[in-house]
Symmetry: C2
Subunit: 464 residues, 2 copies
């Protein structure tokens, strides 16, 4: 029997994890694997781009987990700079275009993996394409931004003050604010919402705002960008909102991303309310036997609310890829869903969340109580004990944990994992109060901050 062929669209986390995992199960004689990537890079950490820009990571190549040559040496026919321009599910083939030569051709598949990732949101405002305005979606974007920063010269150089405006105050926005601060820029973050970090409740976002102020980052809330102003040379000069203009030598767009499903929708594949592809638990596209999808182009099940959500995150993409590859290779795996955990930092400020925010709980029709506590990362008497605020949501009546958010300093963010596992297990906050967590003065107060929050939630439930 001739080998079957697996075609993978997209050469980053989900796609290449799927390809690599399938290859572990199947020899090239059993399964030919062809992967198409339209960019210049494969298997890289997009999450690392802010730290490359900020200077903590020495160079672009450090963000590349595996080179195309390494993939090829493992029997994966990875074709770079090759864009898939059409999926033909009926005949089991994809049409590709070589972006260097422009040549097009068809490639047949027995199994298809769609890992087309996300595309950055780009509002149609004047000047958004001007030189000096940058996204940070992929390594090419990062390289271009670094080029602009080098053109601007060092801080305090001939050009004097250097000003950066970051549009968006989500994960990418705040991480890029840190990166540009580290590069010596005066940084202003323009945020459409009431508080930065809309993935937190507003009261916790307010803490982030205050802390960013303290770090020397100016955050402007309720700032809807209306235009990007350019100078005579065509380069960016300022960012305009309805109320004001913010001078800018460079602009970074961190407005968010949407699932890249243009090809899949054209092929009639099902997408959900957030625009992502819909799959079953084995990561097969719903209703399709031979087509899988994973990573930033799919929706995922939220285990807390029972609803589909869109959470583009490298850690999910890697898991999806592993499961897809195992299933295609003849193993078995399912992706049960997520609880919505995310961590981030801005300089020494740490931010974490998991589960539902108040508005998510309300939207899911859940009654809830909240509790917010201040505690410390270590025993209060131990050096460098840092303060953190923990907010917890619990379901009224049953007391089931619904969500937890943390804003603090060193040692704060990863405590969210305690709640992530508890959410996965459907644990009540009462049971959480008695969790046997690691305690020693350098690591925690005798009651871990998460337990203190759980105790206060129990009080809130009791008083309710």
């Amino acid at each position: 029997m001739a080998a079957q062929r697996l075609v993978v669209i997209g050469g980053d986390a989900a796609g290449m994890s799927a390809a690599s995992q399938a290859r572990r199960f199947r020899t090239p004689d059993e399964l030919e694997i062809v992967a198409f990537e339209r960019g210049h890079f494969a298997s890289y950490s997009a999450c690392g781009i802010p730290y490359w820009i900020g200077g903590q990571v020495a160079g672009r190549d450090e963000l590349i987990a595996r080179t195309p040559e390494e993939h090829r040496a493992r029997g994966i026919d990875l074709r770079m700079r090759t864009e898939v321009v059409e999926i033909d599910p009926d005949r089991g083939r994809v049409r590709t275009r070589n972006l260097e030569s422009g040549a097009e051709s068809w490639t047949g598949w027995d199994r298809l993996v769609i890992a087309t990732g996300a595309r950055p949101v780009r509002p149609p405002i004047p000047g958004i394409g001007a030189p000096g305005v940058h996204g940070v979606q992929n390594l090419d974007d990062g390289q271009a931004l670094l080029g602009t920063l080098e053109t601007l010269g060092p801080p305090g150089g001939a050009q004097g003050r250097r000003r950066a405006v970051v549009v968006g105050a989500g994960y990418i926005g705040v991480e890029m604010a840190e990166a540009l601060l580290n590069r010596g820029f005066e940084v202003t973050v323009l945020n459409r919402g009431e508080q930065p970090m809309a993935t937190l409740d507003p009261d916790m976002g307010r803490l982030v705002h205050t802390a960013m102020d303290g770090l020397g980052i100016t955050t402007v809330n309720r700032a809807e960008v209306t235009a990007i102003r350019t100078g005579d040379d065509g380069r960016v000069r300022a960012v305009a909102t309805a109320d004001a203009e913010y001078p800018a030598d460079v602009v970074v767009l961190g407005i968010g991303v949407a699932p890249e499903t243009t090809l899949a929708r054209a092929a009639g594949l099902p997408t959900g309310e957030h625009g992502g592809l819909l799959t079953d638990l084995s990561m097969r596209v719903r209703g399709r036997d031979a087509i899988w999808a994973g990573g930033d182009c799919v929706e995922v099940l939220d285990l807390v609310s029972g609803r589909d959500r869109y959470i583009p995150l490298g850690t999910h993409a890697n898991k999806h890829g592993q499961i897809i590859g195992a299933n295609i290779g003849g193993g078995y795996g399912t992706f049960p869903g997520v609880v919505g955990t995310a961590v981030s930092k801005v300089c020494d400020l740490e931010i974490a969340r998991t589960g539902l925010r108040e508005k998510d709980a309300a939207a899911a029709g859940l009654q809830y109580v909240t509790a917010t506590v201040e505690s410390t990362s270590r025993a209060g008497y131990y050096p460098d004990a840092s303060e953190m605020t923990v907010k917890i949501l619990a379901e009224r009546g049953a007391g089931r944990l619904l969500g937890l958010q943390i804003v603090g300093r060193e040692g704060a963010a990863k405590r969210v994992d305690i709640a992530a596992v508890a959410l996965t297990a459907g644990m009540t906050v009462e049971r959480m109060t008695l969790l046997d967590l690691g305690y020693a003065p350098p690591f925690s107060p005798v009651w871990d901050p998460v337990l203190v929050a759980a105790r206060k939630a129990v009080s809130a439930l009791t008083a309710d």
Copy 2:
């Protein structure tokens, strides 16, 4: 109706938590609370003593969570330097002795809490009581040790080299090794077992040994202390084992502790195979309606093995106290048990464990597989990503998580909480591989080290 009286024996974590919690539920008119403490201090953090000795914590008073005066101001009649010398359960009274005056008297109770804590193990070897030989069980011990250190003078002073021998390589032993190293001592740890940290499997203990070597701490395994040698002045000069003599200007005993149940046993209360008091889930002493016990004098249920264990740890003592106080006060609470989580550090070395070791699993009649992985605390490309080793045990067949151990550097130890919650929930290692943990390059590789270990355990189960 006259007030009922609650008597508490022992004024540290469990006892005073119970008293404080009961007071939250009941006014002094409803419930009189009398607590007896034979020492000079109440409500202090014994866990913090190594850091006080080591100089990270400025003074003794920082370790005191609440002074006797503060307790009294909250309506708790705390009597210091008063030892309970007899429990008379039939007549509901205790006999006490004032350690200053020697006066004895009886005090009646309607409810009794036994929180007598632990006593240090002291093998009957010659010289163990010599000046310069110290335990670190309580604040008085710590003060005495500091006195000895001051007498010895600064390192490199008139007396030249200063040598410390620590007997025991468990938590207290390794923490005291760090403390004495910080004080400028040459430190030798004499360990009876094959590897330090017997609460870890030997292969993980070996990593601790190597790391301690790297820190400049000499650890001697299979070293049974036979005598403590003294000089003409009666002060310690050396510690002798069967094979060798180790010069010592100061000796710290960190051999371990046993439950202090002399009084309780004399009163006919039930103790278990580890010598600790036996309670039900509400922390009532088994078979007794009006007597509760908690903290370092009780045995606790291990939720993983289903067996009783003895785990003296401040975090459990506090939880016990809360539950006892609530139950006595008219609320309701139960202590479901522990999973055996503990964290510690030696300088920048971090050590953590939860659940069962290989020998615990074998003793519980469980079949298991193990997997050990090396990973990093942050994304590999992020600055200060530190290496850690994670070992995991899973039940054969079912794949239930049985235990996890970590040896690493900054950011390693508290990851054990992920496994602690997973153990509490009875999670399989397969489910663990897909846990939605916090990921960002400064906090974790895209697969958290705990997930990497879980994945390898799944492979081991599959290959089994």
